[in-house]
């Protein structure tokens, strides 16, 4: 992080350490700006000024402060906590303050040393730059305009933009060729006469949302290939969603499944205070897995930010902003970006820890009073927008929440619930019964079913919304009847009621449950999702008709058809849609023969 585009004059400001309290260090440094990035102590730990008190600056350190002494020096780096934005980010794993972990491993071994000075993006790599033909020297060029492109990975075409805040006369643009990150690829003369040399990358403060022209409405659902999400509780591209659940309910699997199968251009996975092995799982499996939309390897469109639970807690607070800023950068290129934050509770706890150390007055469960506003601010950075460059892009933010004891009334879950528009509540009961994904259809909601319905009815089937509602109503009738069964046993129910239970069980097992480990079932295309739902409801409807004809419920329950329907999801992939048609024929045949038989009996009687 020694290099910057935005040179400032006061970068040599120095100070002295006065007090060390865990990750919070007090430094005597008159004149430093709040938010400035500093290096502290003889080893040069990275930190950020979070408060000023007279000539004293309160610094939160992103690294362990073990071994730091009062009296050691501190240095102001002259810029706020910021990230480097340019080609070379895709496929990488960064720590909470955008240091490349693979490079650190190569340089420093198994453990992360303190005060390591390493740049985020590789300076030596040459990138093939293709200038845009839309801009000519001598013409005006605006912020966010696309100067040209670099093929970052096979999947991702990186668009090199004029950084926000810079505009003016384009003096020069580099011809097609190979360039390193520090090479100048364009010169822009601003109104005030200053000439900006633009490079393939620029630096952006992570706490400042990147600008755009205007917000736009979400129009299409994000397809995740997960039936319970797409069909029952859809999230839009540019939406905000939360996945709360106690431990063991499968939050991480849900997030990883979205990272794998979402129809987004870019996926940014922020592992915030979670397990190291989970990130390794992503790192080891994604390069092997194929994106169902492009046929390329998933890692080519994925970027990881890792602050595992044992890494310094303050960098955990930063990691969400670092991830979000990178997400906004790709959004500005006109891409649909999905950012997954696992888990926002750990992020909130980092806030709590810092506020506790600063002696701020705690409000709910020790959390600071600004918890709700910080949460809202980060979720509001998601959205679908019109970019400065005249394109449309989106950031969908999906945050996992880890409520203590699975209690959804705790502060982080309840504040999150106020902000988001899609809520996927995971249930311990379902997880204990190994019903995965354990998304609870009673506690979950989506505000965007209407919008999603437009897309489904246009692209998949006109009856989507009706069928979805039918399934949900069946499930709610099932919940009601189950209460009775638990009191007096199933024999007390009438035949139609018992068929409702059977129908709901079929929806749960054949549609809602989805096995992430099954090579076929792990991803389900929208067409297959609808087909499964429709088939199951067809069986239910026809069965209900038979019950009317006094067909014994026992006979219906023992139809081999039901078992086949349950296996359908993992028997045929999204490419084998004709097999589902065959199965539909099978259903008709079976029920027709029952109908004939009982119609005859009816006549005979």
């Amino acid at each position: 992080m020694t290099d910057t585009n935005t040179n400032t004059d006061n970068s040599n400001l120095t100070g002295t350490i006065i007090d060390i309290n865990g990750p919070i260090v007090t430094v005597h440094m008159p004149g430093v700006r709040s938010g400035a990035q500093v290096r502290i102590g003889n080893v040069g730990l990275y930190g950020e000024v979070i408060a000023l008190k007279g000539e004293r600056a309160i610094v939160q350190a992103y690294e362990s402060t073990d071994g730091i002494c009062p009296g050691e020096a501190a240095e102001d780096l002259g810029w706020p906590l910021s990230v480097e934005l340019g080609p070379g980010m895709m496929g990488q794993i960064f720590d909470g303050v955008q240091r490349p972990l693979e490079n650190i491993f190569a340089q420093a071994g198994d453990r992360i040393p303190l005060g390591l000075n390493i740049v985020a993006l590789d300076r030596e790599k040459a990138w093939p730059f293709v200038p845009s033909d839309k801009h000519e020297p001598g013409k005006e060029i605006a912020s966010g305009a696309i100067l040209g492109t670099v093929q970052e990975t096979q999947t991702v075409l990186h668009k090199v933009m004029v950084p926000p805040g810079i505009s003016g006369e384009l003096l020069e643009i580099a011809p097609i060729g190979e360039y390193k990150l520090d090479d100048c690829i364009a010169r822009v003369k601003a109104k005030d006469g200053q000439v900006h040399k633009l490079k393939l990358y620029h630096r952006w403060s992570v706490r400042r949302p990147r600008p755009f022209t205007s917000r736009d409405d979400g129009v299409a659902p994000l397809i995740t290939g997960q039936r319970v999400l797409d069909t029952f509780f859809p999230v839009l591209k540019g939406g905000k969603s939360a996945v709360p659940g106690p431990f063991g309910a499968g939050k991480t699997v849900v997030q990883q499944q979205i990272a794998r199968w979402a129809n987004a251009d870019i996926v940014i996975y922020v592992g915030c205070g979670e397990r190291g092995n989970e990130l390794v799982d992503v790192l080891e499996t994604f390069p092997e897995m194929t994106d169902p939309y492009t046929g390329r390897k998933l890692m080519e469109r994925t970027l990881l930010v890792a602050n595992t639970s044992n890494m310094p807690v303050v960098a955990r607070e930063a990691s969400v902003y670092v991830g979000m800023t990178m997400a906004e950068y790709y959004r500005d290129m006109g891409y649909d970006v999905v950012m997954l934050a696992d888990s926002t509770s750990r992020w909130a706890e980092a806030l709590r820890e810092v506020s506790g150390r600063l002696g701020q007055m705690p409000v709910e469960e020790g959390y600071p009073a600004y918890l709700a506003s910080r949460l809202a601010a980060i979720y509001e950075r998601a959205g679908r927008i019109n970019t400065l460059g005249g394109d449309k892009g989106s950031v969908t933010l999906i945050g996992a929440v880890s409520p203590p004891g699975g209690d959804f009334s705790e502060p982080v879950t309840s504040h999150t619930k106020d902000i988001i528009d899609t809520f996927w509540a995971l249930s311990k009961e379902l997880a204990d019964a190994r019903h995965y994904p354990s998304v609870d259809w009673v506690g979950s909601f989506s505000d965007h079913v209407e919008t999603a319905a437009k897309w489904w009815s246009q692209d998949i089937n006109k009856t989507w919304q009706a069928r979805r509602a039918e399934a949900l109503s069946l499930l709610s009738r099932d919940a009601e009847l189950s209460r009775i069964v638990n009191l007096v046993g199933p024999e007390a129910l009438s035949s139609p009621q018992r068929w409702v239970l059977e129908g709901a069980a079929l929806i749960k097992e054949a549609v809602l449950q989805q096995n992430a480990m099954d090579s076929i079932d792990t991803f389900c295309s929208p067409a297959k999702q609808f087909e499964l739902l429709d088939l199951v409801l067809t069986i239910y409807d026809l069965g209900a008709e038979m019950v009317e004809l006094n067909v014994p419920i026992q006979e219906l329950q023992e139809l081999p058809l039901l078992g086949q329907a349950r296996r359908l999801k993992s028997s045929y992939s999204s490419e084998q849609m004709d097999r589902f048609k065959e199965f539909r024929g099978e259903i008709d045949k079976v029920f027709n023969s029952i109908r004939l038989e009982y119609a005859k009996q009816g006549e005979a009687a």
Partner: protein, 459 residues
């Protein structure tokens, strides 16, 4: 610096000592304290400023006299000496011998607070460890490099289960270079003796390093103990290429010691008086296990966490569950029915199981059998509830079968003898015996070929 002694202690409370006017002390440094009786105590700097230094004293601050206490700041963090000689030894929480034998002499000195393992340096754990316990091997498999806690309660046989795992744990392919690090925090003399005897009886004592802080030892020492133990484990695993199983008991006492010091320091409490950093602190311990690229050895961690009042939502088991890769939950009801080990399979989980089992690791049918057993057992428990309300006689034929299955599962699959070492093949065969209580078409999670191969109903 380290030659200088200070006697400027200005306050002592709850295991913390405040010393004024000491310049140049680094955060985290080790401290030696000599009290007026001439006894040495050990401490660590936990806050420092120009004016004051706050020291956490591992032996506690009882019987300290501010005027005649001499404090020496060593220019080094808390560290321990390591050599292969540590095997077979017993140490206290800060790595001093507790077995009346001389201290370890070695040029290998390691600070106990290791930096975080770079996630990019880790490899994903996937080698199956056979514990010989059906509920673990069959349904919640442990793999090399995993952290899998036992959630228990007072009076439940967690120690017996932990000892059984230590005795029986083996890798399916190799058995050599296997070591155990045993870390006891706040356990009773009886429990400590139980483990020692258990290790001696099974002949593994020569491969065990014990770090023991008993219930009547100073509680603050418990804060250093897991870190000291894991430093030894890291040495054994990554320097000596051994596969190390770390058993820790009981993390609840560790967390209570942490709360004690936090309260004395004046930290803002979050839940139940525990400090807000309990999660990060526990994670620092748990995340030290795992596998590292290019290293032969591994650290597998089985911590015992007792749930106060059997409450799984209590902060300690709750936060532990969010960090560890699953949990083995012991259940009082099963225990009172005389079932050992009383593992509650529905609420137990192993997150790393999926990659450690199956065709090349255990047997091809393993994942499906596990999934099928879980599904049937969940349904069987529902039926059992129903039967307790309406009576078993009112149940349909189909439901009665579930009831029989639940009973057979509890007594035959869950229950086993403390000395019974079941191979994974035995466990899987037993699973099929139980599955064969059902007609074929009730088994929707196993494949047709598996049914053809293993389905075998009793006459």
């Amino acid at each position: 610096m380290s030659a200088k002694e200070y006697c400027t202690a200005s306050a002592a409370r709850g295991g913390l000592l405040v010393v004024s006017n000491v310049p140049g002390v680094a955060f985290g440094d080790r401290v030696q304290i000599r009290d007026d009786a001439g006894n040495n105590r050990n401490g660590q700097v936990i806050r420092c400023s120009n004016e004051e230094v706050l020291i956490q004293v591992y032996e506690g601050t009882d019987d300290i006299n501010l005027e005649s206490t001499w404090i020496r700041f060593l220019d080094e963090p808390l560290q321990i000496a390591l050599s292969p000689e540590i095997l077979g030894r017993i140490f206290n929480g800060i790595g001093e011998p507790k077995d009346n034998r001389p201290p370890i002499v070695s040029s290998v000195l390691r600070p106990v607070g290791a930096g975080a393992i770079n996630p990019a340096a880790r490899t994903y754990p996937k080698e199956f460890i056979q514990t010989g316990v059906s509920t673990i091997d069959g349904l919640n498999s442990l793999v090399r490099g995993q952290k899998l806690p036992i959630f228990s309660g007072s009076g439940l046989p967690h120690n017996r289960l932990a000892a059984q795992i230590v005795r029986q744990a083996k890798l399916v392919d190799q058995e050599s270079s296997f070591s155990v690090v045993f870390a006891a925090m706040g356990v009773s003399n009886t429990d400590a003796k139980f483990f020692e005897d258990a290790f001696a009886d099974s002949g593994v004592l020569g491969n065990v390093v014990m770090f023991v802080n008993l219930a009547d030892d100073p509680p603050i020492e418990r804060l250093a103990l897991p870190r000291v133990a894991l430093t030894a484990a890291e040495y054994l695993a990554f320097d000596l290429d051994r596969h190390v199983l770390v058993v820790m008991t009981d993390l609840t006492y560790y967390a209570e010691a942490l709360r004690e010091v936090a309260t004395a320091k004046g930290d803002v409490p979050s839940r139940k008086g525990y400090p807000g950093y309990l999660y990060s602190d526990l994670a620092e311990i748990y995340e030290r296990c795992g596998r590292i690229k290019g290293r032969t050895g591994s650290i597998t961690l089985v911590p015992v966490v007792s749930m106060p009042s059997d409450d799984i939502t209590h902060p300690i088991p709750d936060l532990t569950g969010y960090i560890t890769e699953g949990q083995i939950v012991l259940n009082r009801e099963l225990h009172s029915q005389g079932i050992y080990p009383p593992v509650h399979v529905s609420s137990s989980l192993s997150r790393l199981m999926k990659d450690g089992i199956g065709k090349d690791d255990t047997r091809d049918d393993h994942p499906h059998v596990a999934s099928q057993l879980f599904a049937l057992y969940a349904r069987a428990l529902e039926t059992r509830n129903l039967a307790s309300i309406i009576g078993a006689d009112e149940l349909s034929e189909r439901d009665r079968r579930y009831l029989q299955f639940a009973d057979a599962f509890d007594s035959r699959f869950v229950g086993q003898k403390e000395t019974e070492d079941r191979s994974i093949i035995d466990t899987l065969d037993l699973s099929w015996e139980l599955l064969s209580m059902f007609p074929k078409d009730a088994l929707s999670r196993v494949s047709e070929t598996e049914i053809a191969k293993y389905y075998n109903p009793a006459e």
